[in-house]
């Protein structure tokens, strides 16, 4: 019977026009040309792509816009862009370059009304709210500014609030698991996915195909995002999807 498939989403962290990857948001290593990687992942069966701009400079921003434009021209799958987005004007520019969705994180924490403004202007289907969560004394708290600042906000509560404000999707990253390759944080993923009415993308910790199975079953995620394992060829997207299909998870092959 036809049914909605679970999505596998490679994430490209982009700095000065190159793909980079680190552990818990630090220790960056070069991982190749983003346009070539995007085209390769699209061919290999990636269901979507996420491009995160992790440059802070103005020049880097211009370079990133060019990457967005080139990725849009080179692929025929949807992609989300994020990193430092804080206004309607920036979103309009990114969408006009061919991005399908934008993700907001720190700017939404600073100004939650931004979510509603973006949703009203562009539709909630294009507004992804990225939430970075860290396990502190048994409680999942939101971290901001690319993981450098701990807030007192409960991750599940924040997820519920951003949906009320107009988010169309949640990108939930476990700061605790990110880069560990020991598996997704299933408890917080399941808590958020159960609490919100919109799709949830789980991120952080993917290491082997079984981790994806776990996050779609126990974690109740609608999609799973990974970066390093794909960039460095630890496992391939076709391998993950074939594994999932054999485990009766609906995937697009």
């Amino acid at each position: 019977m036809p049914m909605l498939t679970k999505r596998i989403i490679p994430c490209l962290d982009i700095k000065e026009g190159r793909t980079v990857k680190g552990v818990s948001f630090g220790n960056l290593r070069d991982a190749g040309d983003p346009v070539e990687l995007a085209a390769r992942y699209s061919d290999e069966g990636a269901d979507e792509l996420t491009l995160l701009d992790i440059t802070a400079t103005l020049e880097g921003r211009t370079t990133f816009l060019r990457v967005v434009e080139e990725v849009a021209a080179a692929t025929s799958i949807p992609f989300t862009v994020g990193g430092g987005i804080g206004s309607e004007a920036e979103v309009e520019k990114l969408l006009s370059k061919g991005a399908d969705k934008v993700s907001v994180n720190t700017a939404a924490l600073r100004d939650p009304a931004l979510i509603t403004r973006l949703s009203d202007a562009f539709g909630n289907q294009c507004v992804v709210v990225a939430i970075d969560a860290k396990l502190i004394n048994g409680r999942w708290q939101v971290v901001s500014h690319a993981g450098t600042r701990l807030t007192d906000i409960d991750a599940t509560k924040w997820a519920t609030e951003v949906c009320d404000r107009g988010a169309g999707e949640i990108l939930l990253t476990s700061f605790t698991a990110d880069g560990s390759r020991k598996g997704f944080s299933l408890d917080i993923t399941s808590a958020v996915a159960t609490a919100v009415p919109v799709p949830v993308i789980a991120s952080g910790g993917a290491g082997i195909p079984a981790h994806f199975l776990d996050v779609f079953t126990q974690g109740r995620a609608d999609a799973a995002l990974a970066a390093g394992i794909f960039h460095y060829g630890v496992i391939g997207i076709p391998e993950v999807k074939t594994f999932l299909k054999n485990q009766n998870i609906p995937v697009r092959l």
Binding site: M3, L4, D47, A72, N124, G168, V198
Partner: protein, 195 residues
Amino acid sequence: MKQKIKIVHYKAGNIASVQNALNRLGTEAGLAASPKELEDADKLIFPGVGHARPAMEVLNQQGMDQAIRDFSGPVLGICLGMQLMAASSEEGNMKGLGIFPEQIKRFTGDLKIPHMGWNSLYALKGPLFKGVAENSHVYFVHSYYMPQCDRAIALCRYNQPFTAAISHNQFFGLQFHPEKSGKPGMQILQNFIDL
């Protein structure tokens, strides 16, 4: 003579994506923001994302509502474009262009909304799906849907069957995004070019 394809330009369309997809197929498409700019077009693509009501208001202001209804060549509505071509929508409780007599409803029930991601098509009919296999996966992102109907040329299923594609006279509508649907999507766009 080479045909001229134009894309309706009304600030609610994912125009770059549609143009990119056509470019990959070796086809150029211009933009049309007014009825005058439609005069030399042979075919029309009517994309759309976002909210139905503001999109319809812009179309009305541009005089494009009537111009799309009166267009004599093939018209391809995509996502919100298809929904705006229906009789009415629960989104903003508004009237549509009335090209398709069907009504657009909101998904309800224990579901993640939007219906977002890759789902499969079945019961494919007609020239738009030539060379597209049953159960091909295409990319959807929508919170409202057209119920299953007699004019459907493709169905999909979320918690219930719904119309994934429709045709009526020279008008076609796709609920999914062919421009973001990999190989089957490109085939569907090529089929529209070849009509």
